[in-house]
Amino acid sequence: EPEVTQTPSHQVTQMGQEVILRCVPISNHLYFYWYRQILGQKVEFLVSFYNNEISEKSEIFDDQFSVERPDGSNFTLKIRSTKLEDSAMYFCASSEWSTGEKLFFGSGTQLSVL
């Protein structure tokens, strides 16, 4: 089965630094997502992306966050100035179509902000 690939698997950064989390969605998928999971808590939606623009975002996704699809394969999440509370597992996901479709998740990037 095709996979969503995320790099790096672990990222440690200092508070206030910028981080970029990278994802390669499944090649024929059109919708891309970022979710996050703070340790011991539920998975939360951050943002969805379609046709080179954000289609929906949550209240968590403030001005410190941005997403980009810089080329035909990568999908990135940038956190401009990391805070301690940004420490979480970040999951990238993609789907072929939109609402109700099966989301394929990557293995996640564990972000630790010190």
Partner: protein, 116 residues
């Protein structure tokens, strides 16, 4: 807020036995999608089963089946003939029927332990 509630933080089942994980949700919509995702220790989220709310028939996938009670807003997962590999965190999730993307709202999860 449209919430998803999983009232069982942990469950345990013996190998080869059957276990049911509970999920209730709150929504004002008449149509939507429901999912169960499995998260093993590797932390990757794996889709177990998907249900369309406009379908009355309960979804099944091999040993996994759901009991979807739309009026009660209940969506439980039954795992039959449990295997050691079923041990994981299980998340119930809901997605709207309309919209531009499959935005999932997850529950807090149920940790399933499978014993010999």
């Amino acid at each position: 807020a449209q919430t998803v509630t999983q009232s069982q933080p942990e469950m345990s089942v013996q190998e080869a036995e059957t276990v049911t994980l509970s999920c209730t949700y709150d929504t004002s919509e008449s149509d939507y999608y429901l999912f169960w995702y499995k998260q093993p220790p590797s932390r990757q989220m794996i889709l177990v089963i998907r249900q369309e709310a406009y379908k009355q028939q309960n979804a099944t996938e091999n040993r996994f089946s759901v009991n979807f009670q739309k009026a009660a807003k209940s969506f439980s997962l039954k795992i039959s003939d449990s295997q050691l590999g079923d041990a994981a965190m299980y998340f119930c999730a809901r997605a709207p029927y309309t919209g531009t993307a499959s935005k999932l709202t997850f529950g807090t999860g149920t940790r399933l332990q499978v014993t010999l």
